[in-house]
Amino acid sequence: MANDILFLAEFTAGTPARSALELAAGAAELAIQSGGAAIGLAYGSGAADDAASLGAHGASRVIILGDDDRPAIAHAPAAVAAVRDAGALALLAPATPNGRDLAAVLVGSLHLPAFGPVRAARVVDGVLETEQATLQGSVVTTSRPVEGVATPSVVLVLANTFTPGEGGTGSADVSRAPIGTESAFGKVTVAESHPADAKVVNLEEATVIVAGGRGVGGEEGFGPLRDLAAALGGAVGASRAAADAGWIPYQLQIGQTGKVVKPSLYIGAGISGAIQHRVGMQTAEHVVAINRDPDAPIGEFADLFVVGDLFKIVPALTDEIRRRSGA
């Protein structure tokens, strides 16, 4: 219906990504404002097995685009067909590589307005309104679709913009997307897969991040950061310099060319705060920086700037937090 809110829901091995739960909550919030329903578009391995559970997070219905383990882009033809049929007001997509790819194909195929990545979205008097931080976060712009253009508006949403609801019990109605027209995107395949042995956390899902940069000095320098992250129940991230040096996997890189994160607490240790890193973490609610250089750029935008030796301060902080939590 014209006031429904769609959202992309990625699944891996039958489990929804954190982004799917966040966007379900966001779509439900916007659907209340628009007087419509929140409808999930699910894709990825095992999507059909657990799609109904999105009902507990706010979805009224879920349409399965595809539940095999092909690359996300291979589900684009089904996404185009489902979105064309749905006639909704807006579609929320995660601002991740897969989310952007599917959003881009929808925009290009259906001539839809595009927004984002946004840090807030709402429906005001039946019209979508989004907020975006631009110019290194110094300016916030509000945007709307031009009157009379095609719908749905496609909205790329930053991680942690919406908070998944807790304790819901609903079950969503599940159906299959109509068969898409013959499309080149169906020809994209995974030719080889090289998973790492070690488990790598999804940084976008972390609410506390302890990030290390060049100042950490090497792979073993991340040890104290891991201890602090563990004490805070958080995850370890890195600047591009640390990932390029091979000290940490690229999956943990924060910044323009890595993950864009929005944790409630970000602690940067030995990170100078170059513009490229800043755009990946500037929407964190609280920023603490620990750096030996009193003039490091990160000192200009951190909420708390601690000048000193990270190798002494980080372990001392870990001890202090453990002591206070009685651990």
Binding site: V105, V188, V208
Partner: protein, 260 residues
């Protein structure tokens, strides 16, 4: 085998940027450069040219006449020729209009691979490559840390949840690469001299058969408000304390905000 690298001219990173009264990005008097992430696409294309995987590299850009400077800079790094699509009707073009123009130009150039950077410095949606692929109905191989072309197929190495995958599709494709492909080469003096003699064509919308379309005027979104970010309280500093004292102060600060 032919690659077309799509590049964009953008205001220099860190330049003093602002919005005009009509809520567009003010580009007057701001130094313009090749979008830094596009330089990795140029580097990837030139590596494929160096190792004989492709026979030619063409650069394509849409922008004002000054964007020819960016194309000359790219030609100075290497490659064969360049095309600039410029038209007064394109000022203020959004993602869809940009993709429409690039798709029409690519239809005319008919490359095996249309290659882009992973994002542009001045618009962070990264939607143009996928929209171009959709309009041309060719496969999209995105966010590659390496691109290979052989036997009628293109492949990109792409980060997966824990490791990496090689994602493949039959040619022709649209592909995008990240800053992990390797550092872009510098233009040599010889390269800069040679670039002056390389062909650089300028196409208008009429040359692409798009003259009748209202591209920029048909923008689908508009900015209704631009305001300075709410002023944050000034940074609090902790200096000249022992590690234990500093740690206690940080913990107090975190506790006051209910973060521990």
């Amino acid at each position: 085998m032919k690659i077309v690298v799509c590049i964009k001219q953008v205001p220099a990173t860190g330049a003093d940027k602002r919005y005009t009264d009509d809520l567009r990005l003010d580009r007057n008097g701001v130094e313009a450069i090749i979008n830094p992430l596009d330089e990795y696409a140029i580097e990837q294309a030139l590596r494929l040219l160096d190792d004989g995987s492709v026979e030619s590299v063409t650069y394509l850009s849409m922008g004002p006449e000054q964007a020819a400077e960016a194309l000359r800079r790219a030609l100075a790094m290497g490659g064969d020729e360049a095309v600039l699509v410029t038209d007064s009707a394109l000022a203020g073009a959004d993602e869809w209009a940009t993709a429409r123009v690039l798709a029409a130009a690519l239809d005319k150039l008919a490359p095996d691979v249309a290659l882009t950077g992973m994002a542009s410095d001045d618009a962070r949606g990264s939607l143009v490559p996928g929209a171009v692929a959709a309009m041309r109905n060719v496969p999209l191989l995105s966010y590659g840390s390496e691109l290979k072309v052989a036997d009628g197929e293109a492949r990109v190495r792409r980060l997966s949840a824990t490791g990496f995958d090689w994602i493949a599709a039959p040619l022709p494709v649209v592909a995008s690469v990240t800053d992990q492909v390797g550092e872009p080469r510098y233009a040599s003096l010889k390269g800069i001299m040679a670039a002056k003699r390389k062909p650089l064509e300028t196409w208008s919308l009429a040359d692409l058969g798009l003259a009748g379309e209202d591209l920029a005027g048909g923008a689908l979104t508009h900015v209704t408000d631009a305001r300075a970010q709410e002023a944050k309280p000034p940074t609090e500093r902790i200096e000249n304390l022992s590690a234990v004292e500093a740690a206690a102060k940080i913990a107090d600060w975190l506790a006051a905000r209910k973060l521990i």
